[in-house]
Symmetry: C2
Subunit: 437 residues, 2 copies
């Protein structure tokens, strides 16, 4: 354990010593918000649209409190128009007195707006489909009608003294002139934010950069972005949007939402901490991430994906011999993210045939045994040989190391005696002891 | 079912009708390979470094055959130097006579190269750490030594008449001048490919674009890219690399590899099909993706992540009422990816409190019942009401619809009779019937 702590300490110092972070903000992005982004947490809105989601009032309150404790800037809730219970839940969460601002998400329609402003929310997120697809197949309205509705709803919500965001839907398939026209109009009326949404999850990073940068030159209000993850780019798109000058990113815990969801909170934290560790740590309680993800995963009955950023079971596990050697010498060689920032620990996987003698040496030290480097190399060869025959676990490796240690500590028995066939039998003998796990 | 088929047909026609694909290649990328990329499939190399991986010879052969059938261009295998079995497996796979070219991945060292060229591979992938971190903590070599070794190994492999790739490791933390120098040198000697690797998984898309574009101006050989996924950008980085002129992307099934892995094959397919459906369908058997992922997931004992692109259980599930309406009218409104391309089907989630009457109408038709639009709206209200009380499943909704249908088809009983409290009791009565699932 003292070894582990030492690596951790070295890791932290190394993190400080990197004077120029190669993964930091691009200095040519003058309007970048990489160092000053905010989160609109939508587990209780977008996340409720996830196939498996059914949140009771108690569960919603528990999640809202956990999100607030984590430090998210906004919490977005399902429209109070969706159902009677949705409305009651929205009112209940507004009464909790959380630090995070509470938003609700409605269609661009006065019927919805009138109900939303009565719930006690701090702001209203209005959305309308501006692409030809949504205009044709969803609501059937033209841009003149959309603009007229937007103005009416925005002025009404503003008259109530609460925040208002206007967002297009399916922005990347909308006519750019239509888009800029309506954003310019609503910006003049005084919305707090305009939103861009990749509703179908197919935008790519450079496309995002261009659209956000263009929009940034047209409006003076903040820009919020919402990215679906159908093509696996939701985290990268969010980062690139911030580089281009967007300020707020919509996230949900584990990314839950329609289809395979949106930018995940945890994944975005990984991305942002690589860019600006200090800012992220100053704002968000990263060590609560695992509990938060477990809370939501349990509520919607899914497992944390094995490859989840940060909290996936193998996110900080190193296996190949060549990797293990360097990571033991300096964790920054293969890790920019420090597991301790998230209340987690690193794991060097030494029980496999790809292992190297540096990983085994570290295990020998953990076992408090004394072996020379040459001896460690010899026992490593034995371990790799058994690893070729079948999967190894920690007990297997420990048995081989301990038997070898006994052998070399007893001068009468030569460690290298006997032909190969005997060695294999002896290896299997070493690991035949009963195991409890 | 006839309804589903019709939607599918409409979907396919819509896909053809989109004359300009807003998610297609950026016309300003003159050197883009988005329409001509190749895959280096590394499940049997990078994937073997995944914490849970232990592939028997038989399993490796099964996976190699499945990858070949899927249509990957190259299959990369663990170094034959890693263990005796690794070498034997490498030789066995080379003898299968697959269409895909077989590569093995070695350190930049003559000892490794001499063994590699004897295995029967079509090419050798050489890698060496060029960042200050890896030079200091991994192999301890300076750039002069690295260059000298690279030249020796490359000329040796070339003399055997097989392909050779030279890659740096941790490229984004390497000195750009060192990097370009060594790439220029190995390009002159005549390597088939040079490789860029984001070994720590922290690069971001625009950074990738810049480095690949710069490298493209220095070398005439192909560029291969390898992206780890620690910060969730591995798919986006791969796409952006292709835009900048890279030709080959390293992938593994489900992205398995060191830590949380690399660019996943399935996720990249989703990304690429959104950009150029025709090219992707002409090269890769996408309908085999699910089986391939299941094969590997079983071999390494993980579950397919719930939010996996394409094959995650909810990738083509639509829930919110407003979404369901549009998707029923035209799938392209919320789906660029067509589930039928992957041998999968779309699912409109209608059994929940966010449901809308369009989704319920579609279910009524599936049940072969006749209800007017007003009646569908009325039964939808009933369904949403029960959805507020507890999670709904398909049987619940079907029971409510069928009971309602019986009611309105029997003129003696008014559908709207009785106070609200009775209605709730009657709803619960509707769904009390025994269920088998």
């Amino acid at each position: 354990m003292s070894n582990l702590k030492e690596y951790q300490k070295v890791s932290e110092e190394q993190h400080k010593n990197i004077q120029v972070n190669p993964y930091g903000p691009n200095p040519s992005d003058y309007l970048s918000n990489v160092r000053s982004f905010q989160l609109i947490e939508s587990t209780l809105r977008e996340g409720e649209q996830f196939a498996n989601a059914f949140f009771s009032t108690e569960k919603k309150i528990e999640i809202a409190k956990a999100l607030d404790d984590f430090g998210v800037d906004y919490i977005e809730l399902t429209s109070p128009v969706a159902s009677e219970q949705s409305r009651a839940d929205c009112e209940a969460i507004c009464k909790l007195g959380l630090k995070a601002k509470i938003l609700t998400h409605i269609r661009c329609h006065m019927d919805d707006a009138r109900i939303a402003v009565e719930t006690g929310v701090d702001g209203v997120d209005v959305v309308i489909g501006t692409s030809q697809f949504l205009r044709e197949y969803s609501h059937g309205k033209d841009m003149t009608y959309i603009t007229k509705s937007a103005i009416e709803v925005i002025e009404f919500v503003k008259s109530k003294g609460i925040e208002i965001r206007f967002s297009s839907e399916d922005s990347f398939r909308s006519d750019i002139v239509d888009l800029l026209n309506i954003y310019k109009t609503v910006d003049k009326i005084g919305v707090n934010r305009v939103g861009i949404a990749d509703t179908v999850g197919c935008a790519n990073p450079r496309q995002v950069y261009e659209l956000v940068k263009t929009l940034k030159s047209v409006v003076s209000c903040d820009i919020e972005c919402h990215f679906h993850n159908d093509t696996g780019c939701a985290i990268a798109n969010a980062y690139t949007a911030l580089e281009a000058g967007a300020k707020l990113i919509d996230v949900s815990v584990l990314g839950i939402g329609e289809r395979n969801g949106i930018t995940p909170l945890g994944g975005l934290m990984a991305r942002m901490i690589a860019a600006d560790r200090e800012y992220v740590l100053s704002k968000y309680k990263l060590h609560k991430l695992r509990d938060l993800e477990n809370l939501v995963a349990e509520a919607v009955q899914v497992n944390i994906p094995f490859n989840n950023p940060i909290t996936g079971f193998c996110a900080f596990t190193h296996k190949a011999g060549i990797h293990a050697k360097a990571i033991l010498a300096n964790p920054s060689t293969y890790e920019i993210l420090s597991p301790s920032d998230f209340g987690l620990t690193r794991y060097i996987h030494f029980a496999n045939r790809l292992t190297g003698w540096n990983a085994i040496k570290s295990r020998v030290e953990q076992l408090n045994l004394n072996l020379t480097d040459d001896q460690v190399k010899e026992v490593t060869t034995k371990i790799k040989k058994l690893g070729d025959i079948r999967p190894l676990n920690i007990d297997d490796v420990d048995s081989i190391i301990k038997d070898y240690h006994t052998e070399v500590s007893t001068p009468m028995m030569g460690a290298t005696d006997g032909p190969a066939i005997d060695e294999e039998a002896s290896l299997l003998e070493s690991v035949k002891k009963p195991r409890l796990n």
